[in-house]
Protein backbone atom coordinates (compact mmCIF):
# COMPACT_ATOMS: atom_id res chain seq x y z
CA UNK A 1 0.00 0.00 0.00
CA UNK A 2 1.19 3.52 -0.82
CA UNK A 3 -0.21 6.67 0.73
CA UNK A 4 0.77 10.32 0.55
CA UNK A 5 -0.50 13.03 2.89
CA UNK A 6 0.19 16.77 3.06
CA UNK A 7 1.60 18.43 6.18
CA UNK A 8 1.95 22.06 7.07
CA UNK A 9 5.71 22.62 7.15
CA UNK A 10 5.78 23.86 10.75
CA UNK A 11 4.35 20.49 11.82
CA UNK A 12 7.04 18.42 10.13
CA UNK A 13 9.68 18.89 12.85
CA UNK A 14 7.09 17.77 15.40
CA UNK A 15 6.56 14.57 13.46
CA UNK A 16 10.30 13.97 13.29
CA UNK A 17 10.54 14.61 17.00
CA UNK A 18 7.87 12.10 17.85
CA UNK A 19 9.37 9.44 15.66
CA UNK A 20 12.60 9.64 17.51
CA UNK A 21 11.21 9.89 20.97
CA UNK A 22 11.54 6.39 22.36
CA UNK A 23 8.09 6.51 23.82
CA UNK A 24 6.58 6.53 20.36
CA UNK A 25 8.76 4.17 18.38
CA UNK A 26 9.31 1.19 20.65
CA UNK A 27 5.68 0.24 21.38
CA UNK A 28 4.80 0.81 17.73
CA UNK A 29 7.61 -1.47 16.58
CA UNK A 30 6.57 -4.14 19.07
CA UNK A 31 2.92 -3.97 18.06
CA UNK A 32 3.80 -4.13 14.37
CA UNK A 33 5.83 -7.26 15.05
CA UNK A 34 3.03 -8.80 17.09
CA UNK A 35 0.39 -8.12 14.49
CA UNK A 36 2.64 -10.21 12.33
CA UNK A 37 1.23 -9.50 8.92
CA UNK A 38 3.52 -6.74 7.75
CA UNK A 39 6.77 -7.67 6.04
CA UNK A 40 8.18 -4.16 5.65
CA UNK A 41 6.82 -0.70 6.22
CA UNK A 42 8.33 2.75 5.98
CA UNK A 43 7.46 6.37 6.41
CA UNK A 44 9.37 8.93 4.34
CA UNK A 45 9.14 12.68 4.70
CA UNK A 46 9.61 14.68 1.52
CA UNK A 47 10.00 18.33 2.40
CA UNK A 48 8.51 20.80 -0.04
CA UNK A 49 11.98 21.77 -1.18
CA UNK A 50 13.28 18.24 -1.28
CA UNK A 51 11.81 17.02 -4.55
CA UNK A 52 14.91 16.22 -6.63
CA UNK A 53 15.79 18.93 -9.16
CA UNK A 54 18.17 17.47 -11.70
CA UNK A 55 18.20 19.85 -14.63
CA UNK A 56 17.44 23.48 -15.33
CA UNK A 57 14.91 22.33 -17.88
CA UNK A 58 12.97 20.69 -15.06
CA UNK A 59 10.56 23.17 -13.41
CA UNK A 60 11.18 23.73 -9.72
CA UNK A 61 8.37 22.61 -7.45
CA UNK A 62 6.62 25.40 -5.56
CA UNK A 63 4.73 23.70 -2.82
CA UNK A 64 3.03 24.88 0.30
CA UNK A 65 3.06 21.54 2.12
CA UNK A 66 5.60 18.94 3.10
CA UNK A 67 4.57 15.41 2.26
CA UNK A 68 4.58 12.22 4.26
CA UNK A 69 4.74 9.09 2.14
CA UNK A 70 3.95 5.66 3.56
CA UNK A 71 4.79 2.31 1.95
CA UNK A 72 3.93 -1.09 3.30
CA UNK A 73 4.02 -4.72 2.28
CA UNK A 74 1.51 -6.78 4.14
CA UNK A 75 -0.45 -10.00 4.16
CA UNK A 76 -4.20 -10.22 4.36
CA UNK A 77 -6.88 -8.13 2.75
CA UNK A 78 -6.90 -4.33 2.79
CA UNK A 79 -9.94 -4.24 5.06
CA UNK A 80 -8.44 -6.68 7.52
CA UNK A 81 -5.24 -4.67 7.57
CA UNK A 82 -6.91 -1.34 8.27
CA UNK A 83 -9.29 -2.92 10.80
CA UNK A 84 -6.32 -4.28 12.72
CA UNK A 85 -4.46 -0.96 12.54
CA UNK A 86 -7.50 0.83 13.85
CA UNK A 87 -8.16 -1.71 16.58
CA UNK A 88 -4.71 -2.07 18.08
CA UNK A 89 -2.28 0.48 16.65
CA UNK A 90 -4.39 3.58 16.92
CA UNK A 91 -2.19 5.45 19.33
CA UNK A 92 0.99 4.96 17.31
CA UNK A 93 -0.75 5.74 14.04
CA UNK A 94 -2.29 8.86 15.47
CA UNK A 95 1.12 10.09 16.54
CA UNK A 96 2.38 9.68 12.99
CA UNK A 97 -0.58 10.96 11.01
CA UNK A 98 -2.11 13.62 13.22
CA UNK A 99 0.22 16.15 11.58
CA UNK A 100 -1.28 15.44 8.16
CA UNK A 101 -4.06 17.67 6.92
CA UNK A 102 -7.60 16.47 7.59
CA UNK A 103 -6.56 13.24 9.25
CA UNK A 104 -9.69 12.10 11.11
CA UNK A 105 -7.97 9.88 13.65
CA UNK A 106 -7.49 6.14 13.40
CA UNK A 107 -10.68 5.43 15.31
CA UNK A 108 -13.55 5.11 14.55
CA UNK A 109 -12.59 2.93 11.65
CA UNK A 110 -14.91 4.04 8.81
CA UNK A 111 -13.68 7.64 8.47
CA UNK A 112 -10.16 6.31 8.80
CA UNK A 113 -10.74 3.90 5.91
CA UNK A 114 -12.25 6.72 3.84
CA UNK A 115 -9.21 8.89 4.46
CA UNK A 116 -6.76 6.14 3.56
CA UNK A 117 -8.76 5.40 0.42
CA UNK A 118 -8.44 9.05 -0.59
CA UNK A 119 -4.70 9.34 0.00
CA UNK A 120 -3.69 6.00 -1.50
CA UNK A 121 -2.04 5.64 -4.87
CA UNK A 122 -1.50 2.55 -6.95
CA UNK A 123 1.63 0.54 -7.52
CA UNK A 124 2.67 0.03 -11.12
CA UNK A 125 5.08 -2.84 -10.59
CA UNK A 126 5.60 -5.12 -7.67
CA UNK A 127 8.20 -7.82 -7.00
CA UNK A 128 8.22 -10.27 -4.13
CA UNK A 129 11.02 -12.79 -3.76
CA UNK A 130 8.75 -15.24 -1.92
CA UNK A 131 5.25 -14.67 -3.23
CA UNK A 132 3.71 -17.69 -1.55
CA UNK A 133 5.01 -16.90 1.90
CA UNK A 134 3.43 -14.64 4.45
CA UNK A 135 5.74 -12.97 6.92
CA UNK A 136 4.62 -15.56 9.47
CA UNK A 137 5.75 -18.30 7.10
CA UNK A 138 9.12 -16.65 6.73
CA UNK A 139 9.63 -16.40 10.46
CA UNK A 140 8.46 -19.96 10.97
CA UNK A 141 10.74 -21.25 8.23
CA UNK A 142 13.77 -19.49 9.72
CA UNK A 143 13.04 -21.05 13.08
CA UNK A 144 12.72 -24.47 11.47
CA UNK A 145 16.00 -24.00 9.61
CA UNK A 146 17.77 -23.04 12.82
CA UNK A 147 16.34 -26.04 14.65
CA UNK A 148 17.31 -28.35 11.81
CA UNK A 149 20.84 -26.95 11.70
CA UNK A 150 21.21 -27.62 15.41
CA UNK A 151 19.81 -31.13 15.21
CA UNK A 152 21.75 -32.03 12.08
CA UNK A 153 25.03 -31.48 13.91
CA UNK A 154 24.62 -34.63 15.98
CA UNK A 155 21.74 -36.62 14.53
CA UNK A 156 23.77 -39.19 12.72
CA UNK A 157 26.29 -39.79 15.50
CA UNK A 158 23.79 -40.61 18.25
CA UNK A 159 22.80 -44.08 19.30
CA UNK A 160 19.30 -45.12 18.17
CA UNK A 161 17.85 -44.53 21.64
CA UNK A 162 19.51 -41.14 21.89
CA UNK A 163 18.34 -40.34 18.38
CA UNK A 164 14.76 -41.23 19.27
CA UNK A 165 14.76 -38.83 22.21
CA UNK A 166 16.54 -36.11 20.29
CA UNK A 167 14.11 -36.46 17.40
CA UNK A 168 11.14 -36.10 19.72
CA UNK A 169 12.65 -32.96 21.20
CA UNK A 170 13.31 -31.67 17.72
CA UNK A 171 9.68 -32.31 16.75
CA UNK A 172 8.42 -30.53 19.83
CA UNK A 173 10.61 -27.58 18.91
CA UNK A 174 9.50 -27.24 15.28
CA UNK A 175 5.87 -28.29 15.59
CA UNK A 176 4.30 -24.80 15.72
CA UNK A 177 6.09 -23.83 12.54
CA UNK A 178 5.00 -26.45 10.03
CA UNK A 179 2.15 -24.66 8.25
CA UNK A 180 2.06 -25.02 4.48
CA UNK A 181 2.66 -22.06 2.20
CA UNK A 182 0.55 -21.10 -0.77
CA UNK A 183 -1.63 -18.48 -2.36
CA UNK A 184 -3.45 -16.16 0.01
CA UNK A 185 -7.22 -15.52 -0.04
CA UNK A 186 -8.50 -13.04 -2.62
CA UNK A 187 -9.03 -9.47 -1.58
CA UNK A 188 -12.45 -8.40 -0.45
Amino acid sequence: MNAITPMKPWKTPLLRLFFFVLGAIKPLQADLKNLSFIHFARWVIVGRNQFPLLSDKQPREELRYDYLIFFSNFNGTWNQYIDAFSAVLSRGLNLIWRWSEKFPGSTPVTPFKDYIGRVQFDTDYYYNCYPKAATNDVKAALRVQDALNDFAKTSQSLSPVEFENAYLEFLARVQPDLGSTGIAPVGT
Binding site: F40, F71, T181
Partner: protein
Protein backbone atom coordinates in the same frame (compact mmCIF):
# COMPACT_ATOMS: atom_id res chain seq x y z
CA UNK B 1 20.62 5.21 10.33
CA UNK B 2 16.93 5.29 9.69
CA UNK B 3 17.30 3.66 6.27
CA UNK B 4 18.41 0.43 7.83
CA UNK B 5 17.00 -2.17 10.15
CA UNK B 6 19.42 -4.93 11.05
CA UNK B 7 20.75 -6.36 7.81
CA UNK B 8 17.96 -4.91 5.72
CA UNK B 9 18.21 -1.63 3.85
CA UNK B 10 15.14 0.35 2.90
CA UNK B 11 15.86 2.43 -0.19
CA UNK B 12 13.49 5.07 -1.50
CA UNK B 13 14.30 6.78 -4.79
CA UNK B 14 12.29 9.66 -6.19
CA UNK B 15 13.15 10.46 -9.81
CA UNK B 16 11.53 13.28 -11.78
CA UNK B 17 10.13 12.05 -15.09
CA UNK B 18 10.98 14.03 -18.23
CA UNK B 19 8.15 16.23 -19.47
CA UNK B 20 8.39 16.68 -23.23
CA UNK B 21 5.43 18.23 -24.98
CA UNK B 22 6.75 17.31 -28.39
CA UNK B 23 6.16 13.60 -27.86
CA UNK B 24 2.97 11.90 -29.00
CA UNK B 25 3.17 9.45 -26.15
CA UNK B 26 4.71 11.07 -23.12
CA UNK B 27 7.39 9.51 -20.97
CA UNK B 28 5.05 8.72 -18.09
CA UNK B 29 2.73 6.71 -20.30
CA UNK B 30 5.59 4.89 -21.97
CA UNK B 31 6.99 4.06 -18.58
CA UNK B 32 3.68 2.74 -17.32
CA UNK B 33 3.25 0.56 -20.39
CA UNK B 34 6.70 -0.84 -19.94
CA UNK B 35 6.09 -1.65 -16.28
CA UNK B 36 2.83 -3.39 -17.09
CA UNK B 37 4.65 -5.82 -19.35
CA UNK B 38 7.34 -6.79 -16.88
CA UNK B 39 7.15 -10.28 -15.40
CA UNK B 40 6.74 -10.56 -11.65
CA UNK B 41 7.97 -14.06 -11.01
CA UNK B 42 11.42 -15.60 -11.10
CA UNK B 43 12.00 -14.06 -14.52
CA UNK B 44 11.60 -10.59 -13.09
CA UNK B 45 14.68 -8.40 -13.35
CA UNK B 46 14.67 -8.13 -9.58
CA UNK B 47 15.11 -11.86 -9.26
CA UNK B 48 18.54 -11.29 -10.76
CA UNK B 49 19.34 -8.63 -8.19
CA UNK B 50 19.04 -11.47 -5.79
CA UNK B 51 19.36 -9.63 -2.52
CA UNK B 52 15.99 -7.98 -3.16
CA UNK B 53 13.19 -8.95 -0.81
CA UNK B 54 10.32 -6.79 -1.99
CA UNK B 55 10.50 -3.95 -4.45
CA UNK B 56 8.03 -1.69 -6.16
CA UNK B 57 7.94 0.93 -8.84
CA UNK B 58 5.23 3.55 -8.61
CA UNK B 59 4.48 6.51 -10.78
CA UNK B 60 3.41 9.46 -8.67
CA UNK B 61 1.21 11.60 -10.88
CA UNK B 62 0.47 14.26 -8.36
CA UNK B 63 -0.01 15.00 -4.71
CA UNK B 64 -3.42 14.50 -3.17
CA UNK B 65 -5.98 17.18 -2.33
CA UNK B 66 -7.56 16.07 0.93
CA UNK B 67 -10.36 18.62 0.92
CA UNK B 68 -11.03 22.03 2.46
CA UNK B 69 -9.69 23.72 4.53
CA UNK B 70 -6.50 22.21 3.11
CA UNK B 71 -5.24 24.03 0.03
CA UNK B 72 -5.15 22.45 -3.37
CA UNK B 73 -1.75 22.31 -4.99
CA UNK B 74 -0.08 20.36 -7.76
CA UNK B 75 3.29 18.98 -8.70
CA UNK B 76 4.93 20.44 -11.77
CA UNK B 77 6.51 17.15 -12.74
CA UNK B 78 5.59 13.56 -12.36
CA UNK B 79 7.90 11.29 -10.42
CA UNK B 80 8.95 7.67 -10.46
CA UNK B 81 9.19 6.17 -7.01
CA UNK B 82 11.41 3.15 -6.52
CA UNK B 83 10.98 1.55 -3.11
CA UNK B 84 13.01 -1.53 -2.34
CA UNK B 85 13.96 -3.67 0.64
CA UNK B 86 17.16 -5.67 0.30
CA UNK B 87 19.87 -7.25 2.40
CA UNK B 88 23.35 -5.79 2.36
CA UNK B 89 24.74 -2.33 1.73
CA UNK B 90 23.55 0.34 -0.63
CA UNK B 91 26.57 0.68 -2.91
CA UNK B 92 26.79 -3.04 -3.59
CA UNK B 93 23.09 -3.17 -4.38
CA UNK B 94 23.15 -0.24 -6.77
CA UNK B 95 26.19 -1.55 -8.55
CA UNK B 96 24.64 -4.97 -8.96
CA UNK B 97 21.53 -3.34 -10.44
CA UNK B 98 23.75 -1.66 -13.00
CA UNK B 99 25.74 -4.77 -13.81
CA UNK B 100 23.10 -7.56 -13.57
CA UNK B 101 20.09 -5.86 -15.12
CA UNK B 102 21.50 -2.78 -16.82
CA UNK B 103 19.12 -3.09 -19.77
CA UNK B 104 16.07 -3.10 -17.52
CA UNK B 105 17.38 -0.20 -15.48
CA UNK B 106 17.97 1.81 -18.63
CA UNK B 107 14.52 0.94 -19.98
CA UNK B 108 12.93 2.36 -16.83
CA UNK B 109 15.10 5.31 -15.91
CA UNK B 110 15.71 6.61 -19.40
CA UNK B 111 12.39 8.37 -18.93
CA UNK B 112 13.78 10.31 -16.00
CA UNK B 113 15.53 13.64 -15.86
CA UNK B 114 19.31 13.59 -15.68
CA UNK B 115 19.70 9.83 -15.96
CA UNK B 116 23.26 8.96 -17.03
CA UNK B 117 22.73 5.31 -18.00
CA UNK B 118 23.74 2.11 -16.27
CA UNK B 119 26.84 1.77 -18.40
CA UNK B 120 28.84 4.01 -16.12
CA UNK B 121 28.21 2.52 -12.71
CA UNK B 122 29.83 5.40 -10.78
CA UNK B 123 27.58 7.91 -12.50
CA UNK B 124 24.61 5.60 -11.96
CA UNK B 125 25.26 5.29 -8.23
CA UNK B 126 25.71 9.05 -7.94
CA UNK B 127 22.46 9.67 -9.78
CA UNK B 128 20.51 7.29 -7.54
CA UNK B 129 21.95 8.84 -4.43
CA UNK B 130 20.95 12.27 -5.64
CA UNK B 131 17.40 10.99 -5.93
CA UNK B 132 17.42 9.13 -2.63
CA UNK B 133 15.00 10.10 0.13
CA UNK B 134 15.92 9.48 3.72
CA UNK B 135 13.57 7.12 5.48
CA UNK B 136 12.19 8.50 8.73
CA UNK B 137 10.92 5.24 10.16
CA UNK B 138 11.68 1.84 8.71
CA UNK B 139 10.11 -1.38 9.97
CA UNK B 140 11.27 -4.82 8.91
CA UNK B 141 9.60 -7.83 10.48
CA UNK B 142 12.56 -10.06 9.67
CA UNK B 143 15.83 -8.17 9.47
CA UNK B 144 18.59 -10.60 10.28
CA UNK B 145 18.77 -12.95 7.27
CA UNK B 146 19.67 -12.71 3.61
CA UNK B 147 17.18 -13.41 0.87
CA UNK B 148 19.05 -16.55 -0.08
CA UNK B 149 18.91 -17.90 3.47
CA UNK B 150 15.22 -17.11 3.70
CA UNK B 151 14.39 -18.92 0.49
CA UNK B 152 16.40 -21.93 1.64
CA UNK B 153 14.55 -21.93 4.93
CA UNK B 154 11.19 -21.99 3.17
CA UNK B 155 12.36 -24.92 1.12
CA UNK B 156 13.54 -26.69 4.26
CA UNK B 157 10.28 -26.10 6.07
CA UNK B 158 8.23 -27.62 3.30
CA UNK B 159 10.52 -30.61 2.83
CA UNK B 160 10.81 -31.31 6.54
CA UNK B 161 7.06 -31.26 7.13
CA UNK B 162 6.62 -33.73 4.33
CA UNK B 163 9.32 -35.96 5.80
CA UNK B 164 7.87 -35.91 9.29
CA UNK B 165 4.40 -36.79 8.10
CA UNK B 166 5.48 -39.57 5.83
CA UNK B 167 7.67 -41.28 8.42
CA UNK B 168 5.58 -40.96 11.55
CA UNK B 169 5.74 -43.94 13.87
CA UNK B 170 8.72 -45.67 12.24
CA UNK B 171 11.23 -47.42 14.52
CA UNK B 172 14.27 -45.36 15.64
CA UNK B 173 16.97 -47.21 13.70
CA UNK B 174 15.09 -46.80 10.43
CA UNK B 175 14.18 -43.18 11.25
CA UNK B 176 17.78 -42.25 11.87
CA UNK B 177 18.88 -43.69 8.55
CA UNK B 178 16.04 -42.04 6.64
CA UNK B 179 16.74 -38.75 8.36
CA UNK B 180 20.37 -38.91 7.30
CA UNK B 181 19.31 -39.46 3.69
CA UNK B 182 16.88 -36.57 4.01
CA UNK B 183 19.60 -34.22 5.27
CA UNK B 184 21.86 -35.14 2.36
CA UNK B 185 19.12 -34.62 -0.18
CA UNK B 186 18.24 -31.27 1.30
CA UNK B 187 21.83 -30.09 1.24
CA UNK B 188 22.25 -30.90 -2.42
CA UNK B 189 18.87 -29.59 -3.50
CA UNK B 190 19.11 -26.75 -6.02
CA UNK B 191 18.80 -23.27 -4.54
CA UNK B 192 15.21 -22.08 -4.79
CA UNK B 193 14.65 -19.27 -7.30
CA UNK B 194 13.60 -15.90 -5.97
CA UNK B 195 10.32 -14.65 -7.29
CA UNK B 196 8.34 -17.86 -7.44
CA UNK B 197 6.12 -18.77 -10.36
CA UNK B 198 3.91 -16.61 -12.52
CA UNK B 199 0.53 -17.43 -10.97
CA UNK B 200 1.48 -16.80 -7.39
CA UNK B 201 0.73 -13.76 -5.33
CA UNK B 202 0.72 -13.55 -1.58
CA UNK B 203 1.74 -10.19 -0.24
CA UNK B 204 -0.74 -7.69 -1.52
CA UNK B 205 -0.10 -4.17 -2.61
CA UNK B 206 -3.08 -3.07 -0.61
CA UNK B 207 -5.56 -1.64 -3.05
CA UNK B 208 -8.92 -0.85 -1.47
CA UNK B 209 -11.90 -2.80 -2.82
CA UNK B 210 -9.61 -5.25 -4.54
Amino acid sequence: MANESGQVYGLTILSPIIEDERLDIDHTTQLRWYLSTLPRDNTSPFAKVSSTYLARLVVLDDVVFVGKPACEEHLKSRYLIFETNFDGDLDTYLRSMASEVGEFVDAVWKHCVGYPGAGNSDAFVAYMKKCQLQTTFFFADVNDRTVRDTLRALQTQSALTHFIERNQGKPPVEMQKLFGIFLDRLKSAPAPLPGGRADEKSVTEGRPHD
